[in-house]
């Protein structure tokens, strides 16, 4: 029995190597994804371009302008023409406009004398068509303003207008580098690619070409066929996890604070689930094209959009949040991010392993039921 399985596994590997599109899915595409999330896609807004019009040159505004220019978050460009800056903001060339009007000092003096007089304004304009960038720009500028206010209050003998301040600490990712959670999450996508898409494609291809029936006419049993189909993709999956972890950790400096053991456990179970889905898809849609379609829509797209990998699940509407509970990728991504950035959180690891194991068991049960009817 082992001899036959071994022979089939070797045949499977040859098939993968010889077909260009499966080779790309197994090797190039995962590497491409890793490079994207390691180098390219970043949610971190670090170099904000601010256009500044300072029509007022008083001491007060000087310290704010200095604070902006000094900050590592901003690249300040001073200008005189508001229309040109408005044009640049519209065309995405700058991220925010800070305008200190000429009547700033006049208002300042007036507001010092009378409490009811409107305060001296500093206008901050951001591009709302890119809401995430706009929010970050506003927060950073408010932060710079906060520092300036402290200095101004002291030098003017005024009450320190922020009696309460926040002392913040970001756990697990002090550098606030989005790459640190994107790269671990991308492992889930890579496993889905190999475990589900590739598997479904290759097996459906055998059905389409009729070679599956030919296999069934041989002395090989159904169990041996299934095993020989799954083991090569399992091995490929394991290899891809190892390579992704190594590249992520040594190349992209993503910390690996958890143990390799815990990582192996959750990856093992998710790989089983991915393979199960791939097998199920290929046995229901026995043609390649359909299999690829279904695999993309039911596995790849959810793993990408709905797993919490890049988009926060809590920010989605309730009906989508409920759907994500049915997605194995969601649990896997959460434990990946935890294992890489936080360390071994055993309650979470065990919970994930059990849930994924449950999914795998359900999938193989369904496959078992379907296979009885259609094979032999």
């Amino acid at each position: 029995m082992l001899r036959r399985i071994r022979a089939l596994i070797i045949k499977e590997f040859f098939q993968i190597l010889r077909d260009p599109s499966s080779l790309v899915i197994a090797t190039l595409f995962p590497i491409f994804l890793l490079c994207m999330y390691g180098y390219g896609i970043s949610l971190d807004i670090k170099n904000l371009k601010v256009g500044l019009i300072a029509e007022d040159a008083s001491e007060e505004t000087k310290s704010f302008v200095f604070g902006l220019k000094d900050s590592p978050f901003f690249q300040v460009e001073e200008a005189k023409d508001p229309r040109m800056l408005a044009q640049k903001l519209t065309e995405l060339q700058i991220d925010a406009i800070v305008w200190i009007p000429s009547y700033f000092s006049a208002y300042w003096q007036a507001a010092m004398q009378q409490k009811e007089h409107p305060k001296a304004p500093i206008y901050v304009v951001t591009d709302g068509s890119a809401p995430n960038t706009a929010t970050f720009a506003q927060n950073y500028i408010l932060g710079a303003w906060g520092n300036t206010r402290l200095q101004l209050a002291k030098s003017n003998d005024l009450a320190v207008t922020f009696p309460v301040s926040i002392e913040s600490k970001f756990w697990f990712n002090e550098e606030l580098n989005s790459r640190y959670f994107l790269v671990p999450g991308s492992i889930a996508i890579i496993i889905t690619l190999i475990g589900t898409l590739l598997t479904a494609l290759m097996i459906a291809r055998e059905w389409e070409r009729g070679t599956m029936e030919a296999l069934m006419a041989t002395p090989v049993t159904i169990v041996e066929i299934l095993l020989s189909k799954l083991i090569p993709y399992f091995i490929l999956g394991v290899v891809s996890v190892i390579i992704s972890t190594v590249i992520g950790h040594y190349f992209f400096d993503v910390p690996l604070r958890g143990s390799v053991f815990a990582l192996s456990i959750v990856s093992f179970f998710f790989l089983l689930v991915a393979l199960g889905i791939g097998l199920l898809i290929s046995s229901t849609s026995k043609d390649q094209f359909n299999a690829a379609q279904v695999a993309l829509i039911s596995a790849f797209l959810p793993a990408f959009m709905l797993s919490g990998f890049i988009f926060e699940i809590n920010s989605m509407p309730l009906w989508i949040r409920i759907i994500t509970y049915l997605l194995p990728a969601r649990y896997f991504v959460s434990s990946l991010q935890t294992l890489f950035l936080a360390g071994d959180v055993w309650p979470l690891v065990i919970q994930t392993a059990i849930i994924l194991c449950g999914f795998a068991a359900l999938l193989f049960f369904i496959i078992n039921m379907k296979t009885k009817k259609t094979l032999d």
């Binding site: 068509s129 913040s168 600490k169 002090e174």
Partner: protein, 369 residues
């Protein structure tokens, strides 16, 4: 000549709609993608679960806790008696952040006049938690302002006034859905075009086209037009969904939008033809389309800004037609862009179309001769 082209286009459209495979690809996925993308693809921060550990229980800390609980953003506030339990909840991802008042908070506030509250945030979701810190800071700022107003000493006579142009309330869907017009238009026209040619090759009907009175140029035109029509129809459906379903204002010129859309779709169809001219099967064409679409979307500025990418990657995005049409789509929706405004973005797409259509023609000629 025109009659022959029209006949070919009609046949193409008919076979597209008749074939079960293409029907499935062209109808179901876009609907699912529209629903999921428009609601799931958000970097907005909502329904935040916050842990509050108030070891102080003085008047000021209770007041602040109420403000956090009352805020619409922190919709899920959990109280913990001990910091350790809150920290465990954070590690287990049950809460995104912890607000911690130590036991001396209120006494410091009344004594020294200032005090700090501790906030621990989950760096595993650093994008969301940075936004959360910003919200928390604003709640605290407002509390501080009011506290100082109440006391008799003067407060700083200056303030920042914020304005968000084009999308005053920062509604995330105003950013995503115009982008979806571009993305779904691209996916459908690309799949329709590449499938049509590959299927003909597979079935052998391509050779039959050769013995018809059609010239190679007419065949090319006949193959591109259906893809363009499909792309235009798809984009229009999403446009209407955006305006009527998502209530996104369309402030720019419709002419500019459709001009940009047409040039974009032509560029995409060119790519589809090129990809299918180098594939032998429908399956192969589909996979090549997938391999093109994934980086095209990631590197287009759809979800993450191109400005965040390293310089060399930003250079690569120059050949991505999606990047230009995204700007046109978002601009005509939100920024009142007109035909003149979008010109700088249409020119690169024209170049791309010329290049891909010529490449596709070249490959076709080789196969046909």
């Amino acid at each position: 000549m025109l009659k022959r082209i029209i006949a070919l286009v009609r046949k193409e459209l008919q076979s597209l709609l008749r074939d079960k495979k293409s029907r499935h690809v062209l109808i179901f996925p876009p609907i699912i993608q529209l629903l999921i993308f428009s609601f799931a693809a958000t970097l907005d921060v909502k329904n935040v679960s916050l842990a509050i550990c108030n070891e102080d229980n003085g008047k000021s800390s209770i007041e602040l806790c109420q403000r956090f609980t009352g805020s619409p953003i922190f919709s899920n506030v959990k109280y913990y008696d001990r910091l350790k339990n809150a920290e465990e909840a954070l590690v287990r991802e049950k809460v995104l952040a912890i607000l911690h008042f130590d036991s001396a908070f209120s006494s410091r506030l009344s004594g020294d006049g200032h005090s700090s509250v501790q906030m621990i945030l989950d760096g595993r979701k650093s994008n969301s938690t940075q936004v959360i810190l910003g919200y928390a800071q604003r709640i605290i700022d407002r509390y501080n302002e009011e506290r100082v107003e109440l006391s008799s000493t003067g407060s700083l006579p200056a303030a920042i006034i914020q304005r968000n142009w084009f999308n005053p309330n920062l509604i995330y869907q105003w950013f995503t859905v115009p982008g979806l017009v571009a993305i779904l238009g691209m996916i459908t026209s690309l799949t329709a075009t590449s499938l049509s040619v590959a299927k003909e090759k597979e079935l052998g009907t391509f050779d039959q086209l050769l013995v018809s009175p059609l010239t190679p140029l007419e065949i090319m035109i006949g193959k591109t037009v259906p893809g363009i029509i499909v792309g235009l129809v798809e984009a229009t459906i999403i446009l209407l969904a955006g305006i009527f379903l998502f209530k996104i204002p369309f402030t720019g010129s419709l002419l500019a939008f459709y001009t940009g859309l047409t040039i974009f779709v032509i560029a995409i169809v060119g790519i589809g033809l090129f990809l299918s001219s180098i594939s032998a099967t429908q399956q192969g064409a589909f996979m090549k389309v997938f391999f093109f679409i994934s980086p095209a979307i990631m590197l287009s500025g759809f979800a993450t800004p191109i400005a965040n990418m390293p310089q060399w990657m930003q250079q690569v995005t120059v050949i991505n037609p999606l990047k230009y049409f995204l700007i046109i789509a978002r601009g005509t929706f939100l920024k009142e862009l007109t035909l003149i405004d979008i010109m700088p973005y249409t020119v690169p797409m024209v170049w791309i179309s010329l290049f891909t259509l010529s490449a596709a023609t070249y490959f076709f000629r080789r196969k046909l001769s």
